[in-house]
Symmetry: C2
Subunit: 152 residues, 2 copies
Amino acid sequence: MSDFRSFEDFHPGEDIVLGSKTVTRDEIIAFAREFDPQPFHLDETAGETSLLGGLAASGWHTIAMLMRMLCDGLLLHSSCNGSPGVEEVRWMRPVRPGDTLTATARVMSTRALRSRPTLGVVTFLMTLVNQDGHAVMTQENTILFERREAAA
Amino acid sequence: MSDFRSFEDFHPGEDIVLGSKTVTRDEIIAFAREFDPQPFHLDETAGETSLLGGLAASGWHTIAMLMRMLCDGLLLHSSCNGSPGVEEVRWMRPVRPGDTLTATARVMSTRALRSRPTLGVVTFLMTLVNQDGHAVMTQENTILFERREAAA
């Protein structure tokens, strides 16, 4: 199998390690300022008095970092053609400045599309763990890939 | 009711209009460069040859813009204490440069927490429509709010 993946190259049960990312305080605050300016994503003191127990990244920033790892580790070397949606996003632990996050994509299922014979759908369970081995987020992504050989 | 909302101020069936946002080509490309550098989010020609049919915002950028409207239109004037997760994200139509997106949050259900008597959970159906009145995205968000009067 080459490094480039088409629909046929995904097999249920396979784990694909996507890469790692260390997040800085400046990145957490810059994302929050633009997209999620809640106090506990901007300021240590506000974070400490919140349920998050300290300054923590916006959950959407955490997802965006996962998406970048998914692009670099898989999608940019594939026949990816976008995604219709995502299921069951779970934010399980706060993401702190200095945390190193590692992303894995488990192939859950694959299905060729009857309606569009050039495409197939792959469902992944994405897991993001921190440097202590604790899961900070999971989500189920459905992604469209072109087939190497379209159905007759 | 004041403008500030606690858990008790949400009622199933209510629609809360969160605001609007016009997205530029530069914003679409800047987000994609950082978090989702797939060709159809960066380049008109690549977009035209993809399923998206033209340059289109990353779905995660669309969600981040919704989150900003949710903050400005509701959460920053509320007792919001974060969110454990999101269900059923659906990207229904491409978001193009120049599109004006309007967000609405429908209150689906409310539930006081037994395990944490100072908090309640509100589930929303978020809908983002474009300037033509077409839905471009929906998602179900579960958000924690402090109660004005904690249970005895």
